[in-house]
């Protein structure tokens, strides 16, 4: 299973961040969420936390999403030393998406009102 992201429909409401932190920590704090939304001019970019990596890559590259150039560091899913997201704000412990259990029932997908996030088979 994976979570499919449709960049054309994300509105930047960040309800996914809210429910992710609420479901995992019992309080609301986007900085403790395993999904974050980067708000751009033309599109918003939800990015789901992947595995932790020890080293920062210092990537200066860009990639195309829906025809718009985006900083690669923004769309990168890794929790890494050079990024402020996907870390417990107090302890710095890295965070990673766990699909909200087994069988997968990601709450961000449930709470995504514009249906930008959908759960699909591999």
């Amino acid at each position: 299973m994976k979570i499919k992201i449709d960049h054309k429909t994300c509105t930047g409401c960040k309800q996914c961040e809210i429910i992710c932190s609420l479901a995992h920590t019992g309080s609301v704090n986007p900085w403790r969420s395993r999904i974050r939304v980067y708000v751009g001019e033309e599109f918003c970019y939800p990015v789901i936390a992947g595995p932790y990596t020890e080293a920062a890559c210092n990537s200066k590259g860009t990639r195309m999403v829906e025809g718009v150039e985006v900083d690669e560091c923004v769309t990168c899913r890794a929790s890494c030393p050079s990024k402020s997201v996907y870390k417990e704000p107090d302890t710095g412990i890295p965070l990673k998406c766990d699909f909200c259990g087994d069988p997968p029932n990601p709450q961000c997908v449930q709470w995504c009102a514009p249906n930008c996030l959908t759960l699909v088979e591999d």
């Binding site: 409401c13 809210i18 609420l22 704090n29 980067y38 001019e41 709470w111």
Partner: protein, 604 residues
Amino acid sequence: MFGWQGKILRIDLSRGTWRTEALPTYLMQEYIGGRGMSDRILFDEIDPRIDALSPENKLIFSTGPLTGSGAPSASRFMVSAKSPLSNCVSSPCCGGYFGSNLKYSGYDLLIFEGKSPEPVYVTILNDRVEILPALHLWGKESYETEKMIREDMKARFNLDNWALNSMGIANIGPAGENMVRFACIMSDGGRAAGRSGLGAVMGSKNLKAVAALGTGQVNIADVEGFRKAVMSFYMEARDSGDFRKRRRYGTWGLPGRANASKSQAAFNFKDGYFEKFVKYEDPEVIIDLIRVRDEACFSCPFGCSKRSRVKNDPEYPLTAKGPEHETMALLGANCGLGDMEDICRANYLCNELGMDTITTGAMISCAMELFEEGHLPEKDIGYPLEFGNTNMFNLLKQIAHRQGIGDLMAEGGIAFASHYGHPELFMGIKGMGIPAWHPQAFDALGLQYATCNTGGSHTKATMPFYEGRKDPAFFVEFTKKDQDYLATADSGILCWIIYHGPEWGDKMAEWLNYVTGTNYTKATLDPLGERIWNLEKLFNMRAGVEKDSLPPRITTEPRVKNRVVPLDKLLPEYYEMRGWDKDGVPTKEKLEELKLEKEGEGVI
């Protein structure tokens, strides 16, 4: 603590110092948050008779217990102060990401006092508060200001792209700096705490911007109950056609609706119908023309606002938020401007300059009528200015920079129209421009505008679109109940656009109970709203605000549906329902019932 953070951040700009205070329990219990708390603090701490642009005025940014909690459409923050435009106590609100960031920083309220000797901006990163010089930002337009602040903060606090992107910035443009009396406070690239000129108050304090980045949390009392309730709210909303329409069109469906019901303010309220908007009656046309993307405020599943751009015009390269229906009506139809791209340009300019599109539109349409009637000579403006003339773009810049005739117009509609001998041609209430819907189309609307505690505003009571229910008694009661209910919604804070109409009071109570663990019902919330409304009224009476009235065009010239607003008849009924006397003064009994006897001393 659940819901609230329990802390006030108080910044003394005169001394350049700040401190935190505990949020008093009675404020939480009796005034909830947002507008209620701010009103109470302003009532207690400032003399209502002061000049709104003097250092004695206080500027309060506030959140409510629901802000940032994840309750649907609870992102807003209120800005409160005495208004330099209407002299009323006023609380415009604004969506976007600033409110939640202030809340996650750990504060319910942010109070600015005094006046900084030099231009400054304030950064709030949780408990790290800094007051920084802003000379390099002074004179910059809104979008550029936000960009430069992000660059400053990147260097100063070593923030990465994600942190810079998450923060919220409230700022003023040149209009606020120059103390234009209808300047607004801008946020997140085009959102605004727009009405009543609080941008000028911010400018008078030499405060260019406030940037907040909070990494704290909001605690929820009943997590499981809350999750279930929000989820079922979503399921319900997803199935409703209204929800889909709101997401797809936002307020862009309203020009068509306003034309159809003959309630489209046009040509300085001389008409209720605008021929040139016929082509926009299908909102898909507007979408094809200017939309870039749908944009939601923080934690709002509806996402009704639109980001727009004038295509292929290098002079307007950036996207702007809106134009919303109010802007289309006031800067468009009311100024005779019928091209949506032109309206988009005017909206863009107002956003960048930091001016309220509604009162600005009312000012310009007033100038246009004065010009056409021959009261305003062309040599005073420097160019012709009949209805529909795009010379108005120049005028927008002149007002914001107080150049030429703009200097006089920046003082507000009453001063401007009186200067040319025709104060009756400014379509405003207590100095504030009347919003989009023509009151002659709906009696209740005239009553709502006239009795609004901040001036001519459409956000403190909602337009009752109830077909078939036309008897005045219903409208009077609706107006009172909705004003009271919205006072609590503004204190929660819930977005009034989504939760409009007093029947939403139950939902408000439900969210409050899940989030804060209190035991509210609609029946216990309503009196809190009524108290807030009466407290505002007492403030305004102390400030010497003029009596409730409408411009003579609305009450004596039948322009729409051959009707006028019978305000003489409606006002006494409304006052009676409020428990006020025939002059609109709260009675002793009413104030005793609301436990406001002491507050009423000396004015009743």
